[in-house]
Symmetry: C2
Subunit: 135 residues, 2 copies
Amino acid sequence: MSAGHTAVTTELFSDPSEDCGVRDVLDRLGDKWSVQVLVELSRGVRRFRELQRAIPGDISQRMLTLTVRRLERDGMVRRTVHATVPPQVDYELTELGRSLAGLIRTMSDWSAEHHEAIVEFRRDWDAAHPDAEIR
Amino acid sequence: MSAGHTAVTTELFSDPSEDCGVRDVLDRLGDKWSVQVLVELSRGVRRFRELQRAIPGDISQRMLTLTVRRLERDGMVRRTVHATVPPQVDYELTELGRSLAGLIRTMSDWSAEHHEAIVEFRRDWDAAHPDAEIR
DNA sequence: CCGCATCCTGGGCGATACTG
DNA sequence: CAGTATCGCCCAGGATGCGG
């Protein structure tokens, strides 16, 4: 993010069949919990239950496990198991994960700036299309 | 909070219960076709069939309609119906849509820069976890 | 405390057929 | 051409219960 050498892609996607891997990133970021987990971990190291309690919206154990496992597989999160009783597992962002958190921050800023406009557009559209199943 | 950790993070989301509307954006960008539609429209005005043919992956009429309708509702796309026979409908990005395309560009650049690392992490993880159903 | 196994439901998505 | 209508599949994700 900080390095200033990125002049590879002139067009958005030079090859239509090649999406540079944005899909991989969006498939992760697009799911229900990954962003919240990344945001919470950007605040510091967290244990499993800490994560679960900190995340708004009542994430189930199953989904937290899946989410954090996939993030680990993608190299965004490091998982550390302490051989204690009872067991303790710490989660923290990797360098790559912090970089992704930076991207999320960028997206968050964009959203904050345009969210109101979006909501307004939606309201107008819904008013102009009384019965639509678009949701 | 953990001490000794670099405080680069300026609080991603000040209020945990407030996600600034990133969810709205990610719910759209996270679906299967929106990004590709936005990218194609960032190249210029397109008609319905043009869009369908230009997008790789064989998008169905139904999904193209749904995708483009939702983008219109969110104020990203302007839809213009010409009263001709046969009917002709043009789609183009709004100012807001172009702004979003810019964000997608940012995400695309990030992905291009880190995709290889991600793929490598996945390969290593999969190797270290021979039998896992995480995918 | 930290998970995994299992069952179940809702909605995203595709295929197909029909209309103006 | 540019949609609408219907059906059916698949899978993300919730609930629950067990195990180390």
